[in-house]
Amino acid sequence: MKNWPLWEVFIRSKNGLEHRHCGSLHASDATMALENARDVYTRRMEGVSIWVVPSAQITASNPEDSAELFDPAKDKAYRHPTFYELPDELKHM
């Protein structure tokens, strides 16, 4: 018989905040994954909502591609407000 697959667990700690990855666990199906996530990751009111996602369904970027993916943003300082030098009299902008 196959082993129980791995699931990634995401918890929303309170309404108004995003779900955040907190770890993983094994379960035979989505219902059990939710029940296990409740027991493993929310024993002290850490959450109000849980997402579980089969780990095999996640496509992740490769650290080897980090340079081509993320470096181009480095030389685009004009995307930040501090790039624009304005007179001091203009207090709040």
Binding site: M1, N3, G23, L25, H26, D29, M32, V40, Y41, R43
Partner: protein
Amino acid sequence: MSEHEVKNLEEIFDARIARDEKIEPKDWMPEKYRQTHIRQISQHAHSEIVGMLPEGNWITRAPSLKRKVALLAKIQDEAGHGLYLYSACETLGISREELYDQLHSGKAKYSSIFNYPTLTWADMGAIGWLVDGAAIINQVPLTTTSFGPYARAMVRVCKEESFHQRQGFQIMMTLAEGTPEQKEMAQDALNRWWFPSLMMLGPTDAASVHTEQSMKWKLKRKTNDELRQQFVDQTVPQAHMIGLTIPDPTLKFNEETKHYEFGELDWDEFWQVVKGHGPCNKERISARVNAWNNGKWVRDAAMAYAEKQANKEVKQAI
């Protein structure tokens, strides 16, 4: 990859750790880093799981409902800690089944302290106070270790661990303030758990083979002897506070260094227990193996049910 390229990558890797950068699972890492982490994280996970057994012994005999719910909650936390750590370990490319197999076959170790028996209710107090106390001292520095998933798991573990120690100390305090028999029971538990707790922090620095490399990888931030000294300095005044005596006639406070000096530890006993000849090694492993084997039909049934449901959905979609 050529030897030269690997050497180059290793230099970049060491520099990242020196800059306090975190290493994440998909990053390149030296094979030795991966193996050392699998060994340490899994050993840690196994200790949490086996650590449930000595305490499980007292759930049905807890002296009150309040003590019983607290003990149950603590043991459930330990299951949780084991699971956080197993999942952190799996990010290094080893499966849960392999990890269990290593525990069950005796290839992987767990903390030697859990091979001692829990003879009286006071042992629940001594374990929470001393064993969890020593564990906290060991674990707090690991919240800043270099491997991201391990550090994150340790943050969660440490947050939960402090209740364990407080509930243990309160059990000891209550017994120590009780009848002469109860106080004697508390003292007896302290007598039996004191030295194993000191040795639980690992062999002396002189005898420790992994310390230097582990310090470099921030897998260890203080040496075993430093951690042990910290534990003694912190715990002796707590024992005095509740009127119990540390079972070490040579123990004395050094006014100059402001540290307690303590006697020689029985390292022969420590290595005997590590090698499988402690009072409960066989019992602990056989309890784990039985639980795993006897649960097989449940795991299989759950998987069969999940597959049947998934097939139904496919059929309905067609």
